[in-house]
């Protein structure tokens, strides 16, 4: 049996086990429900067109043209009563004067006002609020996936150590087959979960008008986000396995995984907190640990030269290869020390 075949068997077991793991399934369903709810709830809570009562029939056509539901009433008192009873959201009285219960009816006011024409010199096809939210969404997606699946890799490694089955495994297949199978399986699961979330998001955005125009605006950036995400995840996966193997029990994971946790946390917070157009962001978009977050953000904002993401990706890929080697070494060096926590230095030293 070749190492490749062994890695396949290891990966298949890992995936089968995860797909039967209630905690994993519950987590996935939970995220999907949150994602679906964020699109469905706004349109469900939205009670439909704003209702407005008018006493003066001359404003009816103007209001109707803005999509409001208009009801003509005889006098001011009736209109006021309807507003108080909540039968209408607002009423337009002679003057014109607009009344409402406790919340200024912006929609009605806008319909009745004349706005000066606005001409944007550099129009953006994305609403300003989305310009802020989408990069954060990218960053969060990478951060949470990297962190939660990374921890799962580390847990899966230490489970085999703690239960001592690792000695049988190592006597049966090469250590690198174990590592490769594990990293591959959890990467596939991570990408599948993210793809599922993305699918729900796209369907949600298309089916509702929660975020009009977002899909078409985000797609080009997503095209770049995918390779950065995949390489960024794999870059850290072997390191997670390595620091997982340093622990001898689950309880020790919290401390042995700190170095990798920092490699995920610090770039995340830097990338979402520094100004998008500054020098620091530029640097972050090349540093392999922050590139999976920073470069897609810059790409989404626009104004990035075509070669920039390519160079950043090459740096990322090279670092991924180097860290796979380091991770494999730590993993191999500490896998069979089942009694006590292994120090990082001791694991690296042992050939």
């Amino acid at each position: 049996m070749t190492t490749f075949q062994a890695a396949q068997l290891v990966a298949a077991r890992e995936i089968r086990t995860k797909l039967r793991d209630k905690a994993f399934l519950f987590g996935t369903v939970f995220f999907l429900v949150i994602m679906a709810a964020s699109f469905l709830l706004p349109s469900m809570l939205n009670s439909g067109a704003t209702k407005v009562a008018v006493t003066d029939s001359s404003t009816v056509s103007v209001l109707q043209a803005e999509g409001l539901e208009v009801r003509t009433v005889a006098d001011t008192a009736t209109a006021e009563q309807l507003v108080r009873d909540g039968d209408v959201d607002a009423a337009v009285l002679p003057g014109p004067e607009v009344i409402a219960k406790d919340d200024a009816p912006d929609e009605v006011v806008e319909a009745l006002s004349t706005e000066p024409p606005v001409r944007l010199l550099e129009p953006s096809d994305v609403a300003p609020v989305l310009k802020v939210l989408v990069p954060i969404a990218f960053a969060m997606l990478f951060f949470f996936t990297s962190f939660s699946f990374g921890m799962q890799i580390a847990q899966s490694v230490v489970e085999e150590k703690q239960t001592r089955i690792v000695e049988i495994l190592v006597a049966s297949v090469p250590v690198r087959a174990l590592l490769a199978g594990k990293v591959f399986a959890l990467s596939v699961l991570a990408f599948a979960q993210v793809a599922l979330l993305a699918l729900v998001a796209v369907v949600g955005m298309s089916a509702t008008d929660a975020a009009p125009g977002l899909v078409s605006a985000v797609l080009p950036a997503v095209g770049w986000f995918v390779p950065f995400f995949v390489l960024g995840f794999v870059m850290l996966a072997a390191l997670w396995a390595g620091v997982g193997a340093l622990a001898s029990r689950q309880e020790e994971l919290a401390s042995t995984t700190v170095p990798v946790q920092m490699l995920v946390l610090i770039p995340f917070f830097l990338a979402i907190s520094v100004p998008h157009d500054g020098m620091l962001m530029r640097i972050l978009s090349y540093v392999p640990f922050s590139a999976p977050i920073a470069m897609p953000i810059r790409l989404f904002d626009g104004g990035v030269a075509a070669w920039e993401p390519v160079v950043s990706l090459i740096l990322l890929a090279a670092t991924a290869v180097a860290l796979l080697v380091v991770g494999a070494r730590v993993y191999t060096g500490s896998l069979l020390r089942t009694q006590v926590r292994t120090s990082l230095m001791a694991a690296l030293k042992k050939a």
Binding site: M1, L9, T163, R164, E167, I168, A171, S172
Partner: protein
């Protein structure tokens, strides 16, 4: 190198050294294991048994020396045909017995159907079939041990290496495991097992390897070793009191209890004159050499 009773050795451990840091745990370890036989590997805790077994299985590397199987140096391909039960037992707690034994079988190169068929047959044989679909963590300790043995046997290994296979087993389970191991040996497998329960080893093994402080102190087939380490010691049971032995030339009394006596003969003295002297004094009910027990050999060679 000690050879095993003229048998063709299948596994040869040759001049293996291994250190952990400054501490040398194996020094020039050499012994052989033959197919079709049960070889007991005996030593005190920390003598180097587990390290030796891990080196045979390739879990640890030797600093120097070689391990070969039928003349070929061990590699991944050959080791695939070995079965291993480590001292520290372990299976996936949240995986069914059936699934993980099939999985381990497949890691040893079996296809899915064969792995499944062998697993079922083995669980049947170990009286564990009805728990096949239970998670390992739900099994009793004894049943977990049986599952562990099934995991080592599923791919029908040519060499079985078992580290303390009887520790933690109740007497019935020991018998069950002994039976299964004997079957494997009879079917042609080489079986190497370690134990510090000398009585079990004495009952079970054909060949014996004794290790102490990282060096092999004795190796060979069991009865050969007993002859080799036999002292010029005799036991006699007579009709009257055996106290007269005290005055026989060349005799050192070890134990005297009325009509029973155990004594050693100094070099140059024969046993037959003693027997004749005893017969002159009355009936002799028993007379013969005392062959050392494994425990006695062990105590002697590890000194």
């Amino acid at each position: 190198m000690p050879t095993v009773n003229g048998m063709n050795p299948d596994l040869s451990v040759d001049a293996v050294d291994r250190s952990f840091g400054d501490r040398q745990v194996l020094k020039d370890v050499s012994f052989t294991v033959a197919s079709g036989r049960l070889t007991g590997f005996v030593g005190a805790n920390g003598a180097g048994k587990t390290t030796t077994m891990r080196i045979i299985l390739g879990v640890l590397a030797a600093d120097s020396g070689t391990v070969s199987w039928r003349g070929e140096p061990l590699g991944r391909e050959i080791r695939q045909r070995f079965g291993y039960m480590p001292e520290e037992r372990g299976l996936y707690p949240k995986m069914s017995v059936l699934d993980q034994i099939v999985y381990l079988g497949r890691l040893h190169g079996l296809d899915a159907a064969t792995a499944r068929r062998r697993t079922m047959a083995l669980l049947e044989r170990l009286e564990l079939a009805e728990r096949a679909n239970d998670h390992v963590q739900k099994l009793s300790l004894g049943n977990q041990q049986r599952a562990q043995i099934a995991a080592a046997l599923v791919h029908d290994p040519e060499l079985l290496v078992l580290d303390e296979p009887f520790s933690g087993l109740d007497p019935l389970a020991v018998d069950n495991v002994v039976t299964v191991l004997r079957e494997r040996a009879a079917a042609g497998a080489a079986v190497l097992f370690s134990s510090h329960q000398l009585d079990v080893v004495e009952r079970l093994c054909d060949d014996l390897v004794i290790i102490a402080d990282g060096t092999i102190r004795a190796a060979g087939d069991r009865s050969g070793l007993r002859d080799q380490y036999a002292l010029p010691r005799y036991r006699i049971e007579v009709g009257g009191d055996a106290g007269w032995l005290r005055d026989q030339p060349g005799v050192t009394l070890i134990d005297l209890d009325g009509r029973h006596a155990t004594f050693d003969l100094e070099p140059g003295f024969e046993d037959q004159p003693i027997l004749r002297a005893a017969l002159d004094r009355g009936p002799v009910h028993a007379f013969g050499p005392v062959r050392p027990s494994l425990a006695e050999i062990f105590r002697e060679v590890i000194q």
